[in-house]
């Protein structure tokens, strides 16, 4: 399988379209017949990252690189950045607005979900300089049932 890159632009606070990119990626990976549990993990990570960008960040770009034995997912936004990454990784911690909470978000599980569903995650950011989340998924990684 030749490597393939797909990129998507995410508009900040565009809740009407939030999640569409992740669904597009999910459908693409399903059409490529990747393992269903793997596709689910990737889709969850992408969706959580996309929603984080829409809710918290500025405009963002999602890049998916599909390789022969792994997939990398990068979500980079030009929003305010994460002040305390360690704290943001704690389940239940959230800085989501009331608007986001009314839509069912803001439970503080976004980054923990991304960490739990990826095989490797790196977060690069500085206050006021945007956030870049880089995740990797191995096709042959052994995991429990999702």
């Amino acid at each position: 399988m030749a490597s393939l890159r797909k990129s998507f632009f995410i508009k900040a606070r565009d809740f009407a379209h939030a999640g569409e990119a992740s669904i597009h990626i999910q459908n693409l990976l399903k059409s490529m017949h990747l393992d269903s549990a793997l596709v689910r993990r990737i889709a969850i990570c992408c969706y959580e990252g996309e929603m984080n960008a829409v809710i918290h960040g500025g405009d963002a770009n999602i890049h998916v690189d599909i390789e022969t034995d792994h997939l990398t997912l990068e979500i980079a936004d030009d929003g305010p950045g994460i002040e305390d990454i360690a704290r943001a990784m704690q389940p239940g911690y959230s800085t989501a607005s009331e608007e986001a909470r009314e839509m069912g978000f803001g439970a503080g599980m976004g980054l923990p979900n991304m960490k739990n569903n990826s095989d490797d995650i790196r977060i690069e950011c500085a206050p006021g300089q945007g956030t870049r989340v880089h995740m990797m998924f191995l096709y042959e990684a052994e995991r429990g049932i999702a």
Binding site: F15, A18, G19, S36, Y47, G104, M109
Partner: protein, 141 residues
Amino acid sequence: MKLSEIVRELDATILYGEDQLDKEIILCGASDLMSDVLVRPTNGILLMTGLASVQAVRTAQIAGVLAVVFVRNKRPGAEVIEAAKAGGFRCSLHHIPCSSPAGGCMPAGSAGWTGDDKPVVCLAAPPADFDTPHASPQSYE
């Protein structure tokens, strides 16, 4: 339990995915927190939620939910149905006019989870304060 049986028992209105009614539902879950849905196991699951929104549908699709039932008198608008169609959503959407909390509307014989992490097994019919049901399910184009 077949989805068609659940629809009949809940007297639900079918909003989308009428061709999905032969699916086997293994678990029922109730939540209004999107991340909660993404954390839980969702194979063979029916999700009951009071969030009648585009995000609820997209979250359900990402999580692999088989069917969504909108409760607490929250009927989704046309944009929600369109979002399901646009995303190629391979599950069905339903609405019931139930004013009870989602956990009180689980179909008889089902097991599942609620947002407070307690397992739920509903052994009885829907509660007495269930709103007057629709006369019959209706398809929704």
